[in-house]
């Protein structure tokens, strides 16, 4: 069976570009006309208030959501390691930690290939890197939430993808674990991977992430973290109207039935909001 092109040695991250990207559900935009260029090897935090579209954006980067309009370039054909906020992992499945983690090597063994001694060594190294040595043959159902998150990170290590996308990876994880895992993110960045992480803990962002994208349905600011997370920017982000307005008029730059023609016809400024138009 085919699977994404996999050259295990190639780890060169691509330039990721968002071109006037609009994402959403039922025609309501959750991410509205966002453009950005993410350089290879970035360690980028994606922050914003609840409902700002952070998860939606990262889902689109992972290829799980088709844009309403605009596009993402640089990711087609790329191997991406993605850890969603709520992974569909069934922790009651009767499998041991090593076998679950080993599935991160899918790009090398596929559905039918054999696991070799080298693969086994890689698994053990990945488990050691997240501090789970000794847990190799424990069942998944015996792990705590934080241990399970570490195991998922071990799987990400084995995926060894040039682009890593994480959605709230430290939400249910204690300080020590998140410190360990943050160190891992830095290591990935040093290896040249592009790492994009949705986070809500601003202190963590300030301490560890050189780049930040502040999102409030529209792009509020994007750049070096200290500059992006200013009072003014954060205040602007907080003023976003959270619930969708069912009576909102069509976006002036709404896609015509032919698709994305509007993106070229109506260059759109990111400061524009629909909320104001909808008010009586």
């Amino acid at each position: 069976m085919p699977h994404p092109p996999a050259d295990p040695t190639a780890s060169a991250a691509p330039v990721i570009e968002l071109h006037n990207l609009t994402l959403g559900y039922d025609r309501h935009p959750a991410v509205h006309h966002v453009s950005a260029r993410i350089a290879p090897g970035s360690l980028l935090a994606l922050v914003g208030p609840n409902g700002a579209g952070k998860s939606t954006l990262i889902k689109a980067l992972a290829g799980e959501l088709r844009p309403i309009s605009g596009s993402v370039s640089g990711l087609t054909g790329q191997r991406i390691a993605w850890l969603p906020q709520h992974s569909g992992l069934d922790p009651s499945f009767p499998i041991d930690v090593r076998r679950m983690v080993a599935m991160g090597l899918w790009h090398r063994v596929g559905a039918l290939g054999r696991f070799t001694a080298e693969h086994r060594r890689l698994c053990d190294e990945a488990l050691a890197a997240v501090g789970l040595t000794g847990f190799e043959s424990r069942g998944l159902d015996t792990l705590s939430g934080g241990q399970l998150q570490r195991a998922l990170f071990a799987r990400l290590i084995l995926q060894d993808a040039p682009v890593v996308l994480l959605d709230e990876p430290f939400a249910a994880v204690d300080n020590r674990t998140s410190t360990d895992l943050l160190a891992l993110l830095h290591r990935w960045q040093r290896q040249g991977k592009t790492v994009i992480v949705v986070l809500h803990d601003l202190a963590q962002v300030l301490a560890h992430f050189p780049l930040t994208l502040l999102l409030a349905r529209e792009l509020v600011a994007f750049g070096p973290t200290a500059r992006v997370l200013s009072e003014t920017n954060w205040g602007r982000a907080q003023r976003m109207q959270e619930p969708f307005d069912d009576d909102a008029p069509l976006c002036a730059a709404s896609p015509d039935p032919q698709g994305d023609a509007h993106a070229h016809a109506h260059p759109h400024t990111p400061t524009h909001t629909h909320r104001e138009e909808a008010l009586p």
Partner: protein
């Protein structure tokens, strides 16, 4: 050459009051062979069914194959070929239809499957009651394990071989599809292959079970061994082995019990599995009793 060695054993078997009928009567041998083939394929399928939380899906699919078998019966009478083709076709149609609905709409798998199988079942009941007679209906509902002829045995054997080969091929994607379907979709295109391939295996095993045990009992030999084994072991490999062994054991004991006590065969086989299930529920390490009671001692770390 080896006859002198075999003959005394056969003679002992023949005179053995318990196992004798298995040697003496061709129909008992056929029944045993059919049940062995069915156990080898249906029990592992049942384990994955349980792990995908689709145990009731098995039941729904068993009902879904009814109209196909009924149409086959309408066309060709009690014909193995016609009813098999009809059953497989109806089962696959329901599986693919509900799969498409659940993967492309807001409906979840359970609801979309329920919708399709209820339609299918109503159609089947309609056809059987308009055109069939009650003896045929009993055949469809309870199977004919004591009347398996050579073509039927060949069919069961073939389905067993296809199932085991299919499971070997799909093993890793299927494990991932149960464990973490989102991850599988992310790293490969095997997810739909695993899903529909597995449903295909489920359908052909239900058709096999339907010939041997009838539509109502066919799911029993899938779900009960898996559920019972879950009380005893915690890893996939042992689960598969133990479920298969349980199905084999219950087939043998059910057949013999039904012969000696003159009971209908397929419910007796399923009830043997049921007895194993209830016993395990009480006694097994992960059963109800052991699980409830806190351990009397604990380790230091």
């Amino acid at each position: 050459m080896s006859e002198p060695a075999v003959t005394p054993f056969l003679a002992w078997l023949m005179t053995n009051p318990l196992l004798g009928p298995l040697v003496e009567f061709g129909f008992m041998r056929s029944a045993l062979l059919g049940c062995v083939a069915l156990s080898l394929s249906a029990a592992p399928v049942g384990v994955f069914l349980m792990l995908r939380r689709m145990s009731l899906t098995g039941d729904a699919m068993a009902h879904a194959i009814l109209p196909g078998a009924a149409i086959g019966y309408l066309v060709a009478g009690l014909s193995l070929t016609a009813m098999t083709i009809g059953g497989v076709f109806a089962g696959l149609a329901v599986a693919v239809g509900s799969g498409l609905v659940s993967r492309n709409t807001v409906l979840r798998e359970d609801t979309s499957l329920a919708a399709f199988y209820l339609l299918s079942l109503a159609l089947g009941v309609l056809i059987v009651s308009v055109r069939g007679n009650s003896v045929d209906l009993l055949h469809v509902l309870f199977g004919t394990v004591l009347a398996l002829d050579d073509p039927a045995l060949l069919l069961l054997g073939g389905i067993c071989a296809v199932t085991l080969a299919g499971l070997a091929l799909l093993y890793r994607p299927l494990v991932m599809e149960c464990l973490d379907p989102g991850f599988l979709r992310q790293v490969s295109r095997w997810s739909p292959v695993a899903h529909y391939g597995f449903l295909g295996l489920l359908v052909i095993n239900l058709v096999a079970g339907f010939h041997a045990l009838g539509t109502l009992m066919a799911v029993g030999i899938m779900v009960l061994p898996a559920a019972t084994a879950r009380f005893w072991v915690r890893r996939l490999g042992p689960l598969l082995l133990m479920a298969t062994a349980l199905a084999l054991g219950a087939s043998l004991s059910g057949l013999l019990l039904s012969y000696h006590a003159d009971l209908p065969t397929s419910p007796t086989i399923v009830l043997s599995l049921g007895a194993a299930y209830l016993l395990s529920l009480l006694l097994a390490p992960y059963g109800a009793l052991r699980h409830q009671r806190p351990a009397s001692s604990h380790l230091k770390a």
